[in-house]
Symmetry: C2
């Protein structure tokens, strides 16, 4: 009877798409999970493990029998194993690698050697390469044999005797060719490849530009070492978007919803406290103008307006440049051109704001024209400067080969706040005698 129940479970469960198996599995408690390990082979469980988030993987790995785990790792895609092991301590990593099959462990080690964020680190090793001298029938036979293990079979990369990339044949080309046709007749030799150390964002832009389903990864000597598939690229794009947004909201690496309040506070408070120290600097700057403030108390009412406007325009420029760099659309334009444009944009926005304020303030503040003049002039100057800073800083950081998003919104905002307030109080102080 129990055997029959197991059969029923296996039939129903294995018919599900792996992504749905993962969803179902993550809702089970420990006792039920233990039964899943019992009912499924390590090979079958590998597909579930691959789909789990890293924190869950760590927990589950502890529950697994050592041999079961080793067999599971052997049956996972090498890049998924490498991603998981990258999160563990060194001694655990070597223990797992030792327990795995030599060949599989070797693939994993090679992948782990790549720096994070490169094509090598996101590529898969399970791909099918063929020879130019094969016939279409040979390749179809190979696909029948090895197809199920490969991550994609839609592009078949052709290599020469030294394993160097010679061309590509799509499954589309293959299927419409006669079976006795040699591959060399249908090969496309204009194959776009990426170097193993290419930045993952660049790989994503390339695959997106050409609408590829995969791209081959080669060494400096054009040796084929792996492929990056379109689903890896989607993950990269999501990851970069989350990262960019994190930078803009001072929450780098802290937008995860699956952590406790304490963990979230631990990750997020350093940013807030760091930015608060900048706030202390701003307080110091304002403190320097205490005399001016004592003379014209109403000046302090416009501190938020000056700060926010300078901050917002700077962030706009930053967003334009960061998105432009991420999508590659900025490189087509000259850098000088974009700076000149931002300067022009800043002056025009500044002028528009100054006109509005100079009209409104005398009405709202008993005809105080000098206050209107101070605020209006300050807004024009500070918006002009803050667009230029918002655009220049990420460009410089990018030139230095760093991620432009580290010039994150809040930091540029703080710089622009301080400059804006300096302009504001300097103008006010020098005009104090007329008030």
């Amino acid at each position: 009877l129990e055997n029959k129940a197991i059969e029923q479970f296996r039939n129903a469960f294995l018919e599900l798409h792996p992504a749905d198996q993962v969803d179902l599995f993550s809702r089970l408690d420990q006792e039920k999970r233990a039964r899943v390990y019992e009912y499924l082979s390590p090979e079958e469980f590998a597909a579930i493990f691959e789909g789990l988030e890293v924190n869950d993987q760590k927990e589950i790995a502890l529950e697994l029998d050592k041999e079961y785990a080793a067999e599971m790792f052997n049956n996972m895609y090498a890049d998924d194993v490498a991603d998981f092991l990258g999160e563990l301590q060194e001694d655990k990593v070597s223990a797992i690698l030792k327990a795995m099959d030599k060949e599989d462990a070797q693939d994993v080690k090679e992948l782990m050697a790549y720096e994070e964020g490169t094509a090598g680190a996101i590529m898969t090793k399970e791909f099918i390469s063929i020879k130019a001298t094969d016939t279409v029938a040979d390749v179809i036979e190979l696909l029948r044999r090895e197809g199920p293990d490969a991550e994609t079979v839609y592009y078949l990369y052709v290599t020469d005797e030294y394993n160097k990339l010679a061309g590509v044949v799509s499954l589309r080309d293959l299927i419409i060719a006669a079976t006795d046709e040699p591959i060399i007749n249908i090969i496309s030799t204009r194959v776009v490849s990426v170097h193993e150390n290419t930045d993952q964002e660049e790989v994503a832009n390339l695959i997106q530009k050409y609408d590829f389903l995969a791209a081959p990864v080669v060494t400096s000597t054009n040796e084929l070492v792996g492929i990056v598939t379109v689903d890896d690229v989607i993950d990269v794009i999501e990851e970069e978007a989350t990262e960019d947004l994190g930078e803009f909201s001072a929450s780098r690496g802290a937008t995860d919803v699956n952590v406790t309040a304490f963990e979230a506070a631990k990750k997020r408070s350093p940013w807030i406290i760091l930015l608060m120290f900048f706030g202390m600097i701003t307080a110091g700057v304002i403190g320097q103008f205490e005399e001016t403030l004592e003379a014209i108390v109403i000046l302090s009412a416009f501190i938020p307006l000056i700060m926010d406007s300078a901050g917002n325009t700077g962030t706009q420029s930053l967003a334009v440049v960061v998105r432009g760099l991420a999508t590659g659309s900025l490189e087509k334009k000259g850098l000088f051109k974009i700076l000149r444009r931002e300067l022009g944009t800043g002056m025009m926005i500044g002028l528009a704001c100054a006109i509005v304020l100079m009209g409104l303030i005398p009405i709202l503040y008993d005809g105080n024209i000098l206050l209107a003049f101070i605020v209006g002039t300050s807004i024009f100057l500070s918006l002009t400067i803050s667009t230029v800073i918002g655009a220049t800083v990420p460009l410089i950081i990018n030139k230095l080969k760093l991620d432009p998003a580290i010039a994150s919104g809040p930091f540029i905002t703080t710089v622009n706040d301080i400059l804006g307030l300096l302009i504001y109080f300097s103008i006010a102080t020098s005009l104090l005698q007329y008030l």
Copy 2:
């Protein structure tokens, strides 16, 4: 001689990948472009036109001979034509549709009828559907005939006699099957489809979750009307990321680098001016406490610190929720749970900041303990409130089926600024007698 030059140009140019043809073409001046139209057939030029940005398309369309243009539109993918026509005025649209082949124009009209942002609006009509009674050999024959026109051939959707979706066969399954096998033997009937009105972000999440290369789009009666391919999905993800970032930086729809300074200012200044009006409200709020400020001028020095800290923590919470909603990871958690977590996180960050400030201010400001108390208490209360507001507002907006990102960073920041300053000055005013 001239004919020979044309042949040479055609050979070299057409050998390029369409994406590279687009790059090359966009660098040409009007005279050279005119020669391209002459040398390439409308069918060949269609691939270039598809790859251009909308503004360039509009310019180029004016340069083309009417018949040439109509023939080009006939040879473009219907979804690309629909995207382009969606940017034109109605009279121009109907003129172009009238000039096109009836069948092609019909496809375009159907696509244009869908609301922007739905599966129907991003799907392609050029897909291959097959019958369950076909044999593998029949399908391969069909692919030889129709393959070049279809956007993807890697998934073949099986429909019944009423054009209802019955299953899917991947090219991978097809190639490893025997040629006389009927499709019904290799069909997978557990096919995941999306409704034509499904939100594009949901389609993207689905394709990403299952690592699909395409998803079929069906009507309410399960009739197959189109497919969404993975490259469309990448564009959607990029678009949504740009949109989210735009919201966070008060530059919705204005992160384009390819516009003049004046156009950029025209698009961006309304945000800045709108936010400046909020700044006027803040100024009004501070103005209410003029007496308190006159008594303790140094209070104004901490206005930026209170504002920035409240703004930054609120934006963090906003980023967590917006990202969580976009990637779907929030739905797995309860909404109440995430609010409780954000409240806890806010209190902890607030407490940490309060402790730092209460320690630092007496040192920096001549042992002014009451100032330290006012600033410390205010920061604790305002950070607690701003995390809750930052998390609640996008959740409410999402419940109302609006895009959560319209609760954009700057707006939530402004609300939190005003609340933070109200708390600050209220505490200061009520403690005024002790200072």
